[in-house]
Symmetry: C2
Subunit: 462 residues, 2 copies
């Protein structure tokens, strides 16, 4: 290992160096992301419409396209101090393994009990709910990372937390469920008989193992029909990208401190929260024309929203009850083939990232599952950390870029986001070890089924 | 939260401040721990006898009662930099929850993929095996933390790693098994038909689910009958306590840097590796008469080696093939009632800690399981980290001491070791949530069964 004199393996900021404001990329976008539309009227969603579902402060953040910096309340900064700053790691061992002249850095967000970056927004959303005097929040969870993060945040603030967990996950992932219970959340398998929509689905489909769309519908129903509750969501929304900007801000402060400038910035992309957070301050410089960076979104080849999707207004949920968002989408009816990166199986994408991609400010790349797990295993062995399948998409792309540098001899600096750990994903690793990974890439005909479900109305041509 | 001006939530040392030597408490002990005895001759084990089982450098460390500081080889220090320094955390939120004037600190060793402090010794033992030109190492694992740590260390050094995993754990903990496979280890359920001792046990007890004693016997057989292999062990041994001293050394450097002096130091005690490591430099000062500290070992009431055991020469393994060690023991035949802190179910204790306890340099305390999980859940909710059941024994004792301070008004400073995370222990948390925890405390008659198995010979009166 040749450690550079001045660059430690892990850069931790001092508490006093941690960001005091989030950064809102929209403020520097000349072309703003298209507004959410009311699916009934096709008019932009108003503050009043949204505040029945979300907390007031969060709706304000959702709709604010102009304020660049929004102060992080002190209570949230105190919570951040419990698990942040996250380390910016120089991947000396990975570089040596690859024999690349590239310098590789990753921002590691997995060193907290939720196991991922989700906690950065969970605490913010729970805080604003508490500030509004609410009793609690509701949400859905699939694999369980978001539900865990929200449970932790609510336990800290003494807020009630009701999680609707897709029934098949509830039964197959009892460990995640117990983590949420440890943090005092009530976890209900969805569909359940505790909501109208749940009872309806159970009557129509007895024995169903549930879906994320159904769990969302139950969580929204409970939030909107109970006094003192609101619904919260862990990705896609503008507010979530805003909170996640803490990832990129910390990264940039750490890099600036050591005089490091990344040439390439890489993140995995599901709904876009981690990628949008990681790139935020760098994209800001790019939008303002101050600096240039190559920015790469990495998605699974089985769910290729950016690389093969349409840029159009579409529903965010399979139940088609949520507002319409203009985004790269595979259609809300698209069902990706089985893939272990549950966090990357969303059919759409953040409207902010969609606009930036559409306007040429970033690239996208789709990678296949076996190649992702090969990268994950190599990374685990040399860098120690066992990565989540989602995060491993970014690892794959970073390794590929580093290998290109090996060919060309270029000493590029690569920064990627390592969003979380894979401790609860060992079933996926087991399939990989046993050579049973699914690498199906959707055919054009399979994609067309999804595209056919995208609503057609004037101005929504694609 | 009232954060003190100068004390951050988490204290991370700079790389340049990290310890460059391990500290060997034995050098400062006036009464040295009794030597290991050959069970056949009742003579002290020689270098030659031990070096057939363990690497030469490790045998030298095992037998060295006099060298206070042993340099940490640069390769090991580089590996340490991948996951160390571990944070020394000020438990501001726990203090507030308890409304105690006590100041509580914990050294958190769980932020690595093995999930515990075990990695500190695993990399050292693997390094010396590599240095000796060996092909690989063998070991046993029960719950899987030690096996995981060793797999990670061997993957990093390119060393073969053969793990014998108690069959019932192999089947019930497939996730741990897959983590080890991810790091390239071969994991064999024990008893297996790959060894003489395994075949013998399978013939005598078809359908057995195995035991740690049997897995040790298989691992030792493979190490001693294959060229280029040695056996390694994750706790109890002097060498392991030496390597784990990095925990205490880092803690002390961080505390000295901020002018903090602990009044009470608390660690859980199974074989003693974490406790011995945490207290090392503090005990050194105490042994040299420079300072005084209250030092408390915490053990499960179901396996009370210190508080109810005998100080005598006994076998370390149930198979009675290993050397005799003079220690606090419940007898190698003692079977503790079911307890979820698998790492604390050992019938004996490090000879170093046993001697120190015998000579009055430390206290011991036994705690019941439900009380431990109550402490664990409270800690998780306010401090965020989901603790391992083993570590939670120390949390319980730290909370109890902090509550005493609340009664007396004393502003004591408490340091405890948080050895690891409980992500793979959710079955235990589930039992706790369902009110199904076992709190059986062994009766005197049950303990006597174990005591009856302690070998009797002149000088071994108890």
């Amino acid at each position: 290992m040749n450690q550079e004199e001045k660059i430690p393996y892990k850069i931790y900021l001092e508490e006093s160096e941690m960001p005091k404001s989030w950064y809102n990329m929209r403020a520097d976008m000349k072309v703003k992301p298209a507004p959410l539309l009311n699916p009934g009227t096709l008019k932009p969603m108003t503050f009043e419409e949204l505040s029945g579902v979300f907390c007031d402060d969060l709706v304000a953040q959702e709709l604010d396209d102009n304020t660049a910096f929004i102060e992080i309340p002190e209570e949230i900064r105190n919570f951040y101090k419990m698990y942040r700053p996250s380390p910016l790691v120089r991947a000396y061992c990975l570089e040596e393994k690859l024999q690349t002249p590239a310098k590789i850095y990753y921002k590691f967000e997995g060193n907290n009990t939720s196991g991922s970056h989700k906690l950065n927004s969970a605490i913010a959303q729970a805080y604003y709910a508490k500030k509004q005097g609410l009793k609690g929040v509701t949400t859905e969870t699939g694999a369980g990372q978001w539900g865990t993060a929200l449970s932790m945040a609510c336990a800290y603030l003494g807020l009630d937390c009701k999680v609707y967990m897709v029934k098949v996950s509830y039964e197959q992932k009892p460990f995640r469920r117990e983590v949420m219970r440890t943090y005092g959340a009530s976890v209900t398998p969805s569909p359940s008989d505790s909501t109208n929509v749940g009872r309806k689905i159970l009557a129509e489909h007895p024995g169903t193992t549930g879906s994320l769309g159904c769990a969302i519908s139950e969580a929204v129903e409970v939030a909107t029909t109970n006094d003192g509750y609101r619904y919260v969501l862990g990705s896609v929304l503008n507010q979530v990208l805003l909170h996640q900007s803490v990832i990129g801000l910390e990264s940039k402060i750490a890099m600036d401190k050591y005089g490091i400038t990344p040439d390439i910035i890489i993140g995995c992309a599901g709904g876009g929260s981690n990628l949008g957070g990681l790139i935020a301050p760098f994209m800001g410089e790019k939008l303002r024309g101050e600096k240039d960076y190559r920015i790469i979104a990495v998605e699974p080849a089985s769910c290729p929203s950016f690389t093969r999707g349409k840029f159009a207004y579409d529903f965010c949920d399979t139940g088609m009850i949520c507002p319409l968002a203009k985004m790269y989408t595979l259609g809300s009816g698209f069902i990706p083939s089985p893939n272990h990166a549950g966090g990357l199986r969303f059919h759409g994408m953040s409207t902010v990232l969609s606009q930036l991609y559409h306007d040429g400010f970033m690239e996208a790349k789709a990678v296949e599952q076996t190649a992702v797990f090969e990268a994950a295993e190599m990374f685990a062995r040399v860098e120690g950390i066992l990565p989540a399948p989602e995060s491993s998409h970014a690892i794959r792309a970073a390794i590929d870029e580093a290998l290109k540098c090996k060919e060309t001899g270029e000493e590029k600096t690569i920064l990627f986001g390592l969003t979380g750990t894979g401790y609860f994903d060992m079933v996926a690793y087991e399939k990989f070890h046993n050579g049973e990974m699914n690498d199906h890439i959707p055919t054009d005909a399979e994609l067309q089924v999804g595209f056919d479900g995208i609503p057609k109305f004037p101005g929504n041509e694609f």
